[in-house]
Symmetry: C2
């Protein structure tokens, strides 16, 4: 498989691009929050809408044909949980170690609400799926999610949260991982998942690195 | 519990507000997509960033203290799956019937990517959690998610998708629901969940209506 120009990008260039796109995306993230919570008058809402239509048109003058990772060889910048270019992502900044552990401190605001004032149960599932996948990748046992079970111990309030995940055991192409989300009062949601290395990855000339999500 | 002014809002007024905030939020959703996919030059990115900072400041001149549903008695407009004021939501427009079924046709673009070109497995979990909850609510058996199990049959490509959910059985405060996501080629992800009516809702003078998410 031919190497892609982005694979060859020197780390300094990658950091430089991150310095541009990370604050740019953060403003869009702030806008998502402000769109939910604003109570300015309707005339101002309509005015802002027109300005945003103009901005979107300008950004779309040149754009990728499809999603981000397809054009960027799996680069995670568009990922819906960790993507620094994805304003729908919190984003969660994941730390990992090679023993097969991954963890993150993160914050969820109004954009992640389910019941009033609470994190949507499915958002907890989304973040745990990502972290369990990151743990398997960190431990050299990457796979795609085959099954995932969530147990909701109590409601998760919006705000500051922590997620932790680890490899439980591994047999050949199958890896079982566990994890949980907690806040200052303790664990709120637990997860258990089975991750399997897909056939196309097993047959690739070089094993894939990192996680699949 | 005192009734809130929003409960008294005539349907015409609710529709009028929807006519303002739905297209406004849709532009922000388009912006999230364009932010991921744009390849315009860096000078333009910086210029847009400054314009967006100004817009966010204007919208924040008057805003809710916290998340949307807290100030709006559980109204779903801020919900992270179905919320018409939440640009992080696809949004999924759910249909339901009182036999305890819920379904929706929806589209997922670049903002929902996990592996290249594929829906993040956790996004499927998020949408299924919402739909299973909607099915239990539609059938008069509302509850909060106690547990949820996802089985990934095959990868879910970004694009046009369908989700369906239904009540499987119910015993007192416990309701079991199932569902799946599919595309034109068939089912990709299956879900099974247990929903429990929380104590505070059982002790309320009137049973809650609809779903909890």
């Amino acid at each position: 498989m031919a190497r892609h120009p982005l694979d060859e990008m020197p780390p300094e260039e990658s950091e430089r691009l991150q310095g541009i796109y990370e604050p740019f995306t953060q403003v869009v993230r702030d806008l998502v929050d402000a769109t939910i919570r604003t109570t300015v008058d309707e005339a101002e809402v309509l005015k802002v809408q027109a300005e945003l239509e103009d901005i979107v048109a300008r950004l779309r003058e040149r754009e990728l044909d499809g999603s981000f990772a397809v054009s960027n060889r799996g680069r995670h910048w568009g990922n819906t949980v960790v993507g620094i270019r994805n304003a729908a992502a919190p984003p969660v900044h994941v730390e990992r170690d090679s023993s097969g552990r991954a963890w993150a401190d993160f914050h969820l605001g109004a954009a992640y609400e389910g019941p009033p004032g609470l994190v949507h149960g499915g958002v907890s599932a989304l973040i745990l799926d990502q972290l369990l996948g990151e743990a398997t990748g960190a431990g050299g046992k990457p796979g795609m999610t085959a099954s995932l079970t969530l147990t909701y111990r109590r409601a998760t309030p919006l705000g500051d949260l922590r997620v932790e995940a680890w490899i439980e055991r591994s047999e050949g192409i199958k890896t079982w991982a566990k994890g949980h989300i907690s806040n200052a009062d303790g664990i709120t949601v637990e997860a258990e998942g089975l991750f399997i290395l897909p056939r196309w990855a097993r047959e690739a000339p070089q094993p894939p690195e990192g996680s699949f999500e």
